[in-house]
């Protein structure tokens, strides 16, 4: 069914944006964040609320989403990046848990568990983007845009500083680079981009609720990045494609719904362990020299 294929491609595009933006942190800066689903959610809620409560269109909503995402990230990044990598992991987990609590319990704003239905579809100069295939083009466009932005960033001088920090933070600091500031900037850019994915999602599915933005989603997005290969930009996109295809493949095995969800997670978990043991650089990464 072509509607089905179109849906798959839209989700691949959205997850590519999420994976590319998280890759700026994990792959290029060596910062492992468990909060990307929260950023995704912040973008979705910001955009949805802008549309439903303020009547702001999709484009404005997306801009608001990016701004709010960047701000949230800055708030967490500033205290925790001053310290060290493992602290950031725990702090990002904290952000994830807190944001989920906000989505669930600040009911006056987010409608809590019941979620926000009836989010309008995007409107391009009067033309409503309704059909699944039209949305493929929209989402695909933003995926390409994200890819281009990431590419510009990583190929620039700023990108080289990022890699220097990833490879040897102390040396980078010794060379006079303001490591903390650079990390905060990259965290904000990563979140701004991740939040735009949330905006796309909200206006596509037309309904959001907190359960789509929980910790397991963060782990899934991280899995996309890691499996696809975090050193090259096409890696996360391939990761998104392959990992989203797995549940579709499972469907052909007629596994009961209740078992299908944990079964997917088993496969993701197993893939992570296997890849780290056998090929830590992912599908597309260049093989690292392995010290004996």
């Amino acid at each position: 069914m072509t509607a089905y294929l179109a849906h798959f491609l839209v989700m691949v595009a959205i997850y590519s944006i999420l994976a590319l933006s998280l890759n700026l942190l994990i792959g290029f800066s060596g910062i492992f964040s468990l909060a990307h689903a929260a950023i995704y959610g912040i973008g979705a809620y910001a955009s949805a609320l802008a549309a439903l409560k303020l009547g702001v269109g999709f484009w404005g909503g997306m801009a608001i989403a990016a701004a709010v995402g960047a701000l949230a990230s800055a708030l967490v990044a500033i205290p925790s990046l001053r310290v060290a990598g493992d602290y950031y992991v725990v702090a990002s987990f904290g952000l994830q848990v807190v944001m989920l609590a906000v989505f669930m319990n600040w009911t006056d704003l987010t409608n809590g568990h019941a979620g926000l239905p009836g989010i309008p579809r995007p409107n391009l100069l009067g033309w409503s983007i309704d059909q699944p295939f039209e949305y493929v083009f929209l989402a695909g466009f933003f995926a390409l845009l994200t890819w281009a932005i990431c590419r510009r960033l990583t190929d620039s001088a700023f990108g080289r500083v990022l890699q220097a920090i990833r490879d040897d933070e102390i040396a980078a600091q010794a060379m006079g680079k303001n490591v903390v500031l650079v990390k905060i900037v990259v965290a904000c850019i990563s979140s701004a981009l991740g939040a735009t994915a949330g905006s796309l999602y909200a206006h596509y599915i037309t309904y959001i609720n907190p359960s789509s933005f929980a910790l397991h989603e963060s782990i899934f997005i991280a899995t996309l990045v890691i499996l696809g290969g975090s050193e090259r930009l096409t890696g996360p996109v391939i990761g998104a494609f392959v990992l989203l295809a797995i549940p579709e493949a499972l469907k052909f095995l007629a596994i009961p719904d209740a078992v299908a969800a944990p079964m997917r997670q088993i496969i993701y978990g197993a893939l992570l362990v296997l890849f780290m043991l056998v090929r830590p650089e992912g599908i597309l990464g260049r093989a690292r020299a392995r010290p004996r």
Binding site: M1, T2, A3, Y4, L5, H7, F8, M104, N105, T107, G112, H113, A114, G115, P117, G118, P132, I205, T206, Y207, I208, N209, S211, S212, I238, F241, V242, A245, E248, A249, F252, D257, A258, R279, I283, L284
Partner: protein, 376 residues
């Protein structure tokens, strides 16, 4: 390595091809409808009843020749109390399976899929969710009364008949729980009662002692449980464990097997919607599914039968073609349906009214004290 890369590429291409190549649903032969139910999770016991009821109805309909000669096929989907899953299921049912009708359940999932139903002109029928917000919505029909009917009855009964003038509330933090608590405050207040405090709990939580301790400190004559499914029995047991001796109360939602078995829930004051455990339906259900039937089994059996009748009418009117719009028009024009529990009449607000019973939970059964007749 080249091989890993090509393996993944081949895999991906195969999946894409399969998706693109899946043939469109053939019209004309089996009539497919959806059923989005809580098959797993904290409400799984409702799911057993709902699915069983729908299945029994479909089998009986098909045994009698189907709907205008077409076989009825029900596609079951699990929302596990998560509205996002319901939305995904609804999209699949509408865009891929092209159903004209779907059964639905629970308040938040139903509210989430209703805009899709209205936009795609697919009728959804809810036999279980009771939020007041479910009334007056396009393409959504409820063959269960909204909760304010039951809440109104129990609030008055507790304040006036039982003389329990102050209450503390424990509320499920979702649409249904919150909506019901809001109505309870209004009706209990109107009947002379006073709500002293309220605490929220998660539907799938297992430890409510902090919330219960806070409520206990506020006193009150009764603890009103605006929640449903598995956590009701946990709330009851933990309340007793903390030394809370005041009576518990709730609407028919709380009547699931776990609650009947819980020692803490003994004596709980409840409302109940009519269900006859000695009926032929109940016996047949027990034989087939090896578990006692409940109110929701009848609900979904009835909803499926209502669809069958409406579909027949629609097909007669439109020369054998079946659309969601046709089904909706048929429901609106027929309006009063004969069911195994008597006559069901859809009101102008797309809802139903029923008699309501109040009583206490004793030894796994409800000892009925009073019956409030429905105003038709």
């Amino acid at each position: 390595m080249r091989t890993i890369r090509s393996a993944f590429c081949t895999f991906a291409l195969l999946v894409l091809a399969a998706m693109a190549g899946t043939p469109a649903v053939a019209q004309g032969n089996p009539i497919k409808i959806g059923a989005i139910l809580p098959l797993t999770g904290s409400g799984a016991s409702y799911g057993v009843w709902m699915k069983g009821g729908a299945e029994m109805a479909a089998e009986e309909i098909n045994a009698a020749g189907g709907i205008a000669g077409h076989k009825l096929e029900v596609i079951y989907e699990d929302h596990a109390a998560d509205a996002s899953k319901a939305v995904n299921a609804m999209r699949r049912l509408v865009e891929v399976e092209k159903v004209p009708f779907s059964l639905t359940s629970y308040s938040a999932p139903t509210l989430a899929i209703q805009p899709i139903a209205a936009q795609s002109k697919v009728v959804i029928m809810n036999g279980g969710g009771q939020s007041d917000n479910l009334a007056d919505k396009d393409y959504l029909y409820n063959n269960i009364p909204v909760v304010s009917n039951e809440v109104g009855v129990i609030a008055e009964w507790l304040a006036k008949d039982r003389n329990l003038k102050s209450a503390v509330l424990i509320v499920a933090n979702d649409e249904a729980g919150r909506n019901s608590a809001k109505t309870f405050r209004e009706r209990y207040g109107a009947a002379g009662g006073k709500v002293l405090a309220e605490e929220q709990v998660a539907l799938d939580g297992t430890d409510f002692r902090a919330q219960l301790a806070k409520l206990k400190a506020r006193g009150g004559d009764l603890l009103y449980i605006s929640s449903y499914g598995r956590n009701v029995s946990i709330i009851a047991d933990q309340a007793r464990e903390l030394g809370m001796t005041i009576p518990l109360a709730g609407t028919s939602w709380v009547l699931v097997p776990e609650t009947f078995k819980s020692k803490g829930a003994e004596g709980m004051l409840v409302t109940k919607l009519p269900f006859d455990p000695s009926s032929a339906f109940a016996k047949k259900f027990k034989d087939k599914y090896k578990t006692d039937a409940g109110f929701f089994a009848v609900q979904y059996y009835t909803a499926t039968r209502i669809f069958a009748k409406a579909a027949e009418e629609a097909m007669k009117k439109h020369g054998g073609a079946l659309t969601g719009e046709g089904v909706k028009d048929a429901i609106e024009s027929i309006r009063a349906f004969d069911t195994i529990s008597g006559k069901l009449v859809f009101q102008a607000n797309h809802g139903a009214v029923m008699d309501i019973e109040v009583g206490a939970l004793k030894g796994g059964k409800v000892a009925v004290d009073k019956i409030i007749k429905a105003a038709h």
